[in-house]
Point group: D2
Chain length 351, copies 4
């Protein structure tokens, strides 16, 4: 940490800061400049937080230097992690050596629609099936998902087509029930800072897909992952899904730079959701190509057998020629960035 | 709703839209322009949502015209509402005729600190006591609040100084417990879109203080209020607390315009939190003055007997001369905008 | 400046930084932490910029500590400045002791419309007349202003009603011509970073009204003022006019906090433009009240005798009852924050 | 255009709107809903703008339906354009069939540095040379470029290595001088809304590289292009260079979606600047890969023989292994998205 004193801070003010820091076992290095004095702090950062340094007389600013997250940081864990999703004997990797394609319907509507979407997804090369049973909706008047029944449908379709399933959980009270059937628990963008829910999935024993809050900084997103990790669960896959900006042409602005930024800062895998980022079907394929090329560890997209009758986010769901174009990109581009396909059949989880 | 057809849409595409609209009982008015055709829809908007109009061939865009919220809208409820907070015989109004000053410590730390802060708050003119027992924190390593014990302290201090209490609830599982003691339940900025929690407080029977999500549009904020209202609870006070922008000089950017915008769109009262908006003690008094002058129905501020040792947000807590300046503003400015003080003793709730 | 080394930086990397700093006459204070080393730099900041410290091996980040602006900073000029606008014998102050009301039509359309607007403005208490002759418009198909002819009209109307005039200049080639007649030169939001134009008005010998870029940080805005000041012109009034955010309810988001933030950082006066910030007539009066109460040194608003036929920004122009309400606020609120009226007749510029 | 009436608008208010529209030769289609009436307008949009519809009694909102730009729109010009840059006999295409790599130093510092950078750029596959002679800088204390002398250096280096040159012009007064030597004129992000400058380059007879304003919407960016086009110059290449958001990890947020969005809306070519978007050398290669894969018509990057001593933006300049990785991406990825290299020798401009 670095404490910046105000131009009119007195020698006494500086001494008071040093004293406080030393009282909690830290060391304070004073650099006296022409206009200002700065003080470098060395020691246990958590103990410094308790000092309320910004409230002390003469203090103009306090800058944190180290990353506030620990377990998910790459600093003490330089090798990038692979997360394995699925039942024993048929797990799918998400990590630096492969490219994982996750696809399925935004919402589970019926057994038929789900099976059809899953079949399309698998044929296009998907190795994980996503589908929403519990839906967080901005409007209380919008379709809220089938809940428990949707979960049952998704699980049986996943078993039928042979793909592990990923589904969202929106309430800490539902985690145990969902974890019984799902192979991976998704935390949606609106719940990224729902700390009770993060802790609940951290204790669930299942891999977690953690979407970025639509207005969260990358640092806040990694802090959310830290909440999960702190409960003993490091099987976390991050998912960039667009951030809120002033640009109205797309529903959100896909922050493609977040992928390499996260890969420098954290050992966790990171994938991209081009469907929710753009909200426009015609952008899903080009953005998926960009995601692969930038080095993402996977993508997650909406597919639907008949977008015209979809109960949720129809305008962004792929099918037909677009889905074929995406399947081609998923085959062709990953090898150019040193990645193989992520198929359950061909890999063996470690240990 | 207005459907805008693409320049190359065919007469058949237009007819398909009209047919769909009529199939759910709506009427479609076609305006054929030089470059484009637009179709005005009249009827039940919820039935139109199910049509996925944006996915139909030839459709370029769909614009909603009406407000998506109903119960909280001012359209069918033109008179602005007053929400009454407190125990029978000692309730405090928040509404258009008064100006309500809410103050207290960001976090309840101990009986002594809470009593001292409450005494300061009351002396400065506050008529409601706020205090945090359950704290949502960005870092899992930060102070998480005293929980149940903090709630007990707050309740007994509130009774001792004679002020109704407002406190945050962060988990749907805690709502019943908190509602037993609190006079008003606060939903924090990070939980504005936690729909399960919104529904739980909607069923609690207690008034709700609903903070704006730091990246929520005003419309999304009113939709969150609609979630609460839909469960039968219209005792909702909105709280503008700053939005996330590119400007780093303040923790958030106080969206002062949100106050009159909300007052045009909704009948609910709206107050301002200048402490969390700015994160800077030196801005709390000027921003409070601005909030009163713009016509807010109240403000909520952090006070602490000794900010230097506060466990939460010390740098923004008021005390001493700043608190006296604020007390003066709260006395002097409201009469200029047609408001009286909001004192429990002097008012009688209606009905 | 503070240089933060990467966790894996070597002692040699640190030595290289120290060596570079000392080579340009600076001093480097090394604080060796557990995880990282930080280096505090003392000396001439401009010489440090030439070092490209961020490109050196082992350097993770470089933080600037001092303000990058000098002439406009309050650091070496603690007293807040007053800028005087007008012809000798009839100058109007903008500064900490007064509250200055600037009003007039967004665009000068005709002698009649301008005179009528100016008369309305004066009757409402305005002491400076604003009016646009050269208009920067987003669309090349929109009304671009009357140019030179508009300037002539504005000048003769200003003389007729006895108010100094403020008008925008959009091209460095026009500065001399405009400065001949205008009492104050306005730099619009789109030109805040048009450095050639800033330098030209810096040499014009006239006071400058510098609007904040709609997406400029406060620091960048003060750097733009520094460009003007560097050419010898410190008669600069800053104008907050709203920033671009994700909120669509208002044209821009008025950053009301910018007023006290600027007043802490700079000695220059700062006023508020609620008309352009909101783009909504119904918000101009409440936002003006907020601006006065927060401590702004003035406001600038659009008035028009007949907004329905205005050639520019009609929807935000005041007239009738709204203008009367504003006039009342301008009389009543400033005394509560220690300010008197800014009338040319009652003040004498210093020196 | 669509006019939305307020819920309480009267039949008379509706009639007044219709009358105004018909008075300027338009047609008004009235759709009377349960809560509201909407009116679709057909006719000349520019004549409607003069009506100030938003100021009429009973009007709640006015929505524009058509694009406000015309010459640059793809609506009446469905084929995507190719812009040719260079001297007769050696022009380089920027357009849908090729991928154009533009590289060079951020600032021209000396003949030696520029030649070395140009040689590196060409070896890496660049077919256009960029270099800054006139530099717009946020701080008046930063290096402002060599001006005319820098232009001379760049021109002679371009001739020596056989690459057409692209350079920024920051002042309308310099356009003629710069256009004499430059093969393409760049408008920087800070000048995107400097309408006088846009008109000047529109009359220069040279192709224009128009960077997106860091806080401009895509529509505003296309309107800026319309300013250039309106002066008779349609040789415009758009350049996405990152927008301002709340995320601090990168200097700007690269809006990668802008590429396909622009390609749907406009026939103009669009390239990407990953250096200025990120400000971080370690992100330039992954973001360049993303730009190619998303379908951009080219990229523009900073290269410098010795970033440690660069006078401008050293931290983002490529050299060594990073530049080799980029050269490889530029060879390998474009064929996957149907593009060939953009070499002057192999192509013949049409006509």
């Amino acid at each position: 940490m670095v404490v910046v004193m105000a131009p009119d801070a007195t020698a006494e003010d500086v001494a008071h800061v040093v004293e406080k820091v030393e009282a909690v076992g830290g060391k304070a290095f004073v650099s006296q400049g022409v206009d200002r004095t700065i003080i470098g702090l060395v020691g246990d950062i958590d103990s410094f937080h308790g000092l309320n340094l910004r409230t002390l007389r003469g203090v103009a600013a306090v800058h944190r230097i180290s990353d506030p997250y620990k377990l998910v940081s790459r600093q003490h864990h330089p090798a990038r992690s692979t997360v394995w999703v699925g039942k024993p004997g048929a797990t799918v990797p998400v990590g630096p050596a492969t490219f994982t394609f996750v696809a399925g319907p935004c919402a589970v509507e019926s057994p038929e629609q789900t099976l059809e979407a899953a079949t399309m997804a698998k044929a296009a090369g998907a190795s994980l099936l996503r589908g929403g049973a519990y839906k967080p909706r901005t409007s209380p008047y919008a379709f809220q998902g089938l809940g428990r029944r949707g979960l049952d449908i998704l699980a049986s379709v996943g078993a039928a087509v042979g793909l592990p399933i990923v589904t969202e959980v929106v309430d800490a009270r539902d985690v145990a029930e969902v974890a019984e059937q799902a192979d991976m628990l998704q935390i949606g963008t609106r719940n990224m800072a729902n700390f009770g829910l993060l802790q609940a999935v951290g204790e669930s024993g299942k891999p977690v897909l953690l979407k970025r809050g639509m207005t969260a900084t990358i640092e806040e997103w990694l802090m959310a992952a830290e909440y999960v990790a702190q409960r003993g669960n490091l099987d976390i896959v991050l998912c960039e899904r667009g951030i809120r900006t002033f640009e109205p042409a797309t529903r959100n602005t896909l922050d493609i730079s977040a992928v390499p930024v996260v890969q420098v800062a954290s050992h966790l895998p990171v994938i991209v959701d081009p469907s929710h980022a753009s909200g426009r079907k015609d952008l899903v394929v080009p953005l998926s190509r960009a995601a692969i090329a930038v080095g993402a560890d996977g993508i997650i997209v909406d597919v639907h057998p008949d977008p015209e009758v979809a109960l949720c986010d129809g305008p962004q769901a792929l099918h037909g020629p677009d889905l074929r174009a995406l399947a081609q990109a998923v085959r062709q581009i990953p090898p150019l960035v040193g990645r193989g396909p992520a198929e359950a059949a061909t890999v063996t989880p470690p240990g």
